[in-house]
Symmetry: C2
Subunit: 137 residues, 2 copies
């Protein structure tokens, strides 16, 4: 599952455009303040080998539901062939991240995840202090 890395990409492209307008020399790495101060929730998980279809449907439904929540700021998700996955969800503030954690439908799916889809997971709630982006020209 790969969801809306376009969010940061548009931020980086926007930063590049702003730099160009100002006639500044364009560094190859752009400092980006787009996410500074946001809450980034790092969810690392190991899938079981069962119920791929159910998992994929639930993951898509949760991504669509997260997108509708107040304070949502983006989602990036990768899973490797060995079933290890990392998903980052970004939120404008901690209240938004907590509200998503407590959303009843999210809680219901999380419980299904424990029963069926995950061997383990870990979650780190972090605050973004600075950011950089680079893109091939």
């Amino acid at each position: 599952m790969h969801l809306s890395s376009g969010t940061w990409l548009s931020n980086v492209l926007c930063a590049v455009a702003v730099a160009s307008e100002a006639q500044m020399p364009k560094p190859r790495t752009m400092q980006s303040h787009a996410r500074t101060g946001q809450v980034a929730v790092i969810f690392t998980s190991q899938r079981t080998s069962q119920d791929d279809a159910g998992y994929e449907a639930a993951a898509a439904a949760m991504a669509a539901l997260a997108l509708q929540q107040p304070g949502y700021a983006g989602l990036e998700s990768v899973r490797g062939g060995d079933g290890l996955g990392i998903t980052i969800s970004f939120w404008h503030d901690d209240a938004a991240a907590r509200a998503w954690r407590d959303h009843p439908e999210h809680a219901r799916i999380r419980e299904l995840g424990r029963v069926r889809w995950y061997d383990w997971y870990e979650l780190q709630v972090t605050r973004v202090e600075r950011g950089y982006g680079w893109r091939r020209e």
Copy 2:
């Protein structure tokens, strides 16, 4: 590439063991303070379709080099079949994260990455505020 998710796992297992010793009821989700206050660097990247062997060798070399740095606290990395990857490196403090950024060999490999291996990347430097873990019993 999947590196040392064992670090957090041993932390969680340790937390479970401590809870058991204290004869506490064992909740299915464990709050974990193991990483609270650490710096988590989120590196999201899109691989080009070239030079897989060179990339894999460099990634393994960088993982081994990071492991030797003062303040290193762990690495988790996943790449999907579409070439999108997320790597989280954990550091005991910001000085350690900055020292790794400025390491000469790391800087050299980063420059090769821009030439050969990445279409784009983004990096967010974050601070861990709280954490949770769950593991199938």
